[in-house]
């Protein structure tokens, strides 16, 4: 085990793009950055003029094949860090961050598949790094991504996911909307349940590796359902987004 002391890095904001009215993707240049693994996160620290500091964790959305990193941040109304990042931050600004962090919730093509990815809302962010990494590696490892959103307006990465799925190289993407769907929507319109997992994901016989990321109740109910369907618990990786942790 190699010692890897952690230190805060200064990152420059290159670009900020709106994904939805509440979600923005922030592209950063980070001098001194070590390459990350898909699924890892960073800690972001803000310091006010009076010295008050606030720190939150954010998943990395970009694959290691790209220069720099991209964070996709959802604005939470009471989130003191996310409201700044999505509301006040501008290109050219500097922010402090440390990472890459968390080797536990990671996947690379060397690990193989098939893959069963399940996201609740902005829980899709670390899974998107896996999707993009797979595409950058021109991998054909079967990958199913099931995303649960409140409404069609909340869907992030929609066009990019549609384009990647249209390649026909083994990526399937399914969205479900839990609080109403627009006219003409032909997809699922309910919370993730047993039947949906059975229909969408590779079955337990193929021993898929499952990554589940989202709000705590969604992650726990999905992981419980996967186990009840016969998926091996040691092949299910979870990342819970809570009110005080990642994504707030």
């Amino acid at each position: 085990m190699r010692a890897s002391p952690i230190r805060w890095l200064s990152a420059e904001v290159l670009q900020i793009a709106a994904e939805t009215p509440r979600v923005k993707t922030i592209r950063l240049a980070v001098p001194g950055w070590r390459k990350h693994l898909p699924g890892q996160h960073v800690d972001v620290r803000l310091t006010a003029e009076d010295g008050y500091q606030a720190q939150r964790s954010y998943s990395i959305a970009s694959p290691p094949e790209e220069d720099g990193i991209a964070l996709t941040v959802e604005r939470l109304e009471d989130g003191e860090v996310s409201t700044f990042l999505t509301g006040e931050l501008r290109a050219g600004d500097q922010i402090e961050l440390r990472g890459p962090l968390g080797g536990y919730f990671t996947w690379t093509v060397e690990r193989g598949g098939p893959l069963a990815l399940v996201a609740g809302g902005s829980g899709v962010v670390p899974l998107m790094a896996m999707v993009r990494h797979r595409a950058a590696q021109a991998s054909r490892i079967p990958m199913h991504l099931l995303c649960s959103w409140r409404s069609a307006d909340d869907v992030i990465y929609r066009d990019e996911l549609a384009l990647l799925a249209a390649r026909g190289d083994g990526l399937d993407v399914t969205h479900t909307l839990t609080r109403g769907a627009p006219a003409g929507w032909r997809g699922y319109t309910r919370r993730i349940d047993r039947e949906m997992l059975l229909e969408i994901l590779t079955g337990p016989d193929a021993r898929p590796i499952a990554y589940v990321c989202g709000p705590t109740p969604m992650v726990e109910s999905t992981a419980t359902l996967l186990v009840s369907l016969g998926h091996a618990p040691e092949r299910i990786w979870t990342e819970r987004f809570g009110p005080t942790g990642g994504g707030s």
Binding site: I6, H41, L101, Y104, T244
Partner: protein, 85 residues
């Protein structure tokens, strides 16, 4: 299902503070629960956080495995069970 379950996160979320303390990536290290003997990666422990610090509990029996108290003078850590890095 409300209550404290909603505030439960994964040990993976404490990767930053753990690496600050141990100077190695800890979430893939395995630990053995003193209470029930379950062996888990640190990243799979249940994490409960607050303004004062973080508590990591066994995902099987919820026994305390690691407690980090943070203050202006640094971190105070209480470790139970066995950790293998």
């Amino acid at each position: 299902m409300m209550g404290e379950d909603v505030f439960r996160l994964d040990g993976n979320g404490a990767a930053g503070v753990l690496q600050e303390i141990f100077a190695v990536e800890m979430t893939t290290a395995s630990c053995t629960c003193e209470g029930c003997g379950r062996v888990s990666p640190v990243g799979a422990l249940h994490l409960y956080g607050g303004a004062m610090g973080s508590v990591l509990r066994c995902p099987s029996c919820e026994a305390l495995v690691l407690c980090i108290t943070s203050g202006p003078r640094g971190h105070f850590i209480e470790l139970r069970g066995i950790m293998r890095v």
